[in-house]
Structures are given as structure tokens and as C-alpha cells.
């Protein structure tokens, strides 16, 4: 426990975080590419078509739609947690994490909406419906974009971080609304597929779980890439950043 706490503190150091993420990234990318290669093989080629509901090949859209939708929510929860850590422990790197998740989370939300819409047309006969699931997911996209815009509107970074963190924390109320919307309201969107037993035919589980794992790791890799850029952006004057950029060790007093 004491070790975990010390590690948590070390992660608050920009230099340590930059070095560690640099070490992790090649491994994460390697695992991501393997999982996605196998996952795409199953989802586009080796998995059967859907017959019971007559969806045919459109069921393949699920293998990108479900991971994107899940990550759009998980990403926002992670943002809210990092924002809380930043506000409570005054940890600057936590704010850098919040800022780094935002663009990737927004991209996932957009993809969930886009693939959902493209899937909706052949399945339900409509591109869009203002039902609870879709409307709340659209709201999530606006929350992500709102955070990015709010953060950019301050010239003082610490104020931007605090204001953004508050928006991230307040906006998290939307997440249970998205998740439970299919239960609370009678939506056009179908109910739970993964968490409800028997809802998903085992033949569709292999490609779905492979793609979930692959896209989750891809999400992590992209967030870490953005985080590394954010760390450099925030520490341009630091000796270690200058040493990293110029590839040489500085003399004392020089910076």
C-alpha cells in the first residue's frame, strides 16, 4: 500500500511520468496492433452473419460501435476522476491527464454516434431518432467539446485547468443517464447486449471482446501520446525537457 502511494506521488512528477509513458508506449502499441489484427480478422471475415433478427452483415458494425460507445463513457469517467484528483491533491499532472483524455474521448463519442447512425439506417430505417440513448450520447459529445473550448478560452493555464475540471466533474451526471437510458425509457436503441446474460450469441462474442480489448488499448496509447505532448507543452522551460529536446546534458546554471 505504501509502495502504491509512493508510486502515485511519483506519477505527479512530469519528468517521471514522461519517462514512464515513453517506456510503456511501445508495449501498448505492440499489444494493440496484435489484438486489432486478430480482432479485425474475426469481425470482418471469420465471424458469422446475424440471422435471428435478419441483420445480416450489418452486425459487423457492432464490433466498432460497442467499443467506441463504451470508451466514450469510460473516458469521461476517467476525466472526472483525474479532475477530482487534480482539485483535491492539487496535482498538476492530473489536469494534464484530463486535457489529454478529452480529444480522444470526443473522437470515440463521435464514432459511437456515426457508426450508430450508419447501423440505424439499415436496421431501423432511420439515421437518427431523438431517443434518450442517442440524445444523451450527443450531449456527451458536447460536454467533451465544451471542455476543450472552455480550457482553450483561458490564457492562464491553472484557471483553465480548474474551470475545466469542474465541468468534467459536473458533466459526469450524464454518464448514468446514457447507461441506464435503455432501461429507464422506452428507446428505439436496444437494451444491454454484453452485461445481460444470453443477449449476445456466443458466435459474436469472440470478435467483440477482441475488438473491445484492442480499441481500449488503442485509446490508452492515444491518450498517453497526447499526455506526453501536454507534459512537454507545460514544462518547456524545464531543464530535463531542454535536455530531452536537444539530446545533450546541460551544464549547471545553463538553461
Amino acid at each position: 500500500m505504501a509502495n502504491a502511494w509512493r508510486w502515485f506521488h511519483q506519477l505527479g512528477s512530469p519528468k517521471y511520468l514522461f519517462q514512464k509513458t515513453g517506456q510503456w508506449l511501445p508495449w501498448i502499441w505492440g499489444a494493440t496492433l496484435i489484438l486489432l489484427a486478430v480482432g479485425l480478422y474475426y469481425s470482418l471475415w471469420a465471424s458469422p452473419i446475424e440471422v435471428r433478427q435478419g441483420q445480416g452483415h450489418t452486425v459487423r458494425i457492432m464490433y466498432v460501435h460497442v467499443p467506441a460507445a463504451a470508451l466514450s463513457m469510460i473516458g469521461y469517467i476517467a476525466m472526472a476522476i483525474a479532475a477530482t484528483v487534480g482539485l483535491v491533491w492539487k496535482m498538476k499532472m492530473a489536469f494534464a491527464v484530463v486535457r489529454s483524455i478529452a480529444p480522444v474521448g470526443a473522437a470515440m463519442t463521435f464514432l459511437a454516434l456515426f457508426t450508430g447512425s450508419v447501423w440505424g439506417k439499415p436496421t431501423w430505417g432511420t439515421w437518427w431518432e431523438w431517443d434518450a440513448r442517442m440524445t444523451s450520447e450527443l450531449l456527451l459529445l458536447f460536454l467533451y467539446l465544451g471542455y476543450i473550448a472552455l480550457h482553450a478560452s483561458f490564457s492562464d493555464r491553472s484557471k483553465a485547468d480548474k474551470a475545466g475540471a469542474i465541468l468534467a466533474i459536473v458533466g459526469v451526471i450524464n454518464i448514468p443517464i446514457i447507461y441506464f437510458s435503455v432501461k429507464w425509457w422506452n428507446t428505439l436503441h436496444q437494451g444491454y447486449s454484453i452485461t445481460e446474460k444470453g443477449a449476445l450469441n456466443p458466435a459474436f462474442q469472440t470478435p467483440l471482446f477482441l475488438m473491445l480489448a484492442g480499441i481500449y488499448l488503442l485509446f490508452a496509447a492515444l491518450v498517453l501520446m497526447r499526455l506526453r505532448a501536454e507534459i512537454v507543452l507545460r514544462n518547456q522551460k524545464s531543464r530535463w525537457v531542454i535536455e530531452w529536446a536537444s539530446g545533450k546534458t546541460l551544464e549547471r546554471g545553463e538553461s
Binding site: 458494425i61 456515426f114 457508426t115 450508419v118 488503442l218 530531452w244 529536446a245
Partner: protein, 69 residues
């Protein structure tokens, strides 16, 4: 999947399936390239600032606190 023909046309739904995967690829690849370029250009910026003589160094803009001499 029984043939390449079926793979490309996905029954009658090729446009729907492929546009979903294509959009996912474009968006995620875009983020990858964007973040990579961001880190590279920051690195270059720091490097240029480090080698420039003090007199030519650009003064930091939007300073909120006074800097010690």
C-alpha cells in the same frame, strides 16, 4: 464469409459496414498523426529556444506573475 465478393459487398450492406470501419480508421489515424506532429513540433520549438542566444530569445507572452531577475 464464403468469398471475396461477399467480403466486399457485405450482402447488400457494404456501404454501411465499410463506411463505419473507414471512418473509425480515419478518425483514429488522424489523432495518431496529430499527436505525433504535436510532440515533434514542441520538441523542435524547445530545441530552437535552447540554442538561441539569450538576447534573441523570445520573451514569454501572457505572463501573469513577475519573473525574478
Amino acid at each position: 464469409m464464403s468469398s471475396w465478393h461477399e467480403f466486399i459487398f457485405m450482402g447488400k450492406h457494404g456501404a454501411f459496414v465499410w463506411s463505419s470501419y473507414f471512418m473509425t480508421l480515419v478518425v483514429l489515424l488522424g489523432l495518431f498523426i496529430g499527436f505525433r506532429m504535436m510532440l515533434k513540433s514542441l520538441k523542435k520549438q524547445v530545441e530552437v529556444a535552447a540554442v538561441a542566444p539569450d538576447s534573441k530569445k523570445q520573451k514569454a507572452r501572457k505572463l501573469k506573475v513577475s519573473q525574478p531577475d
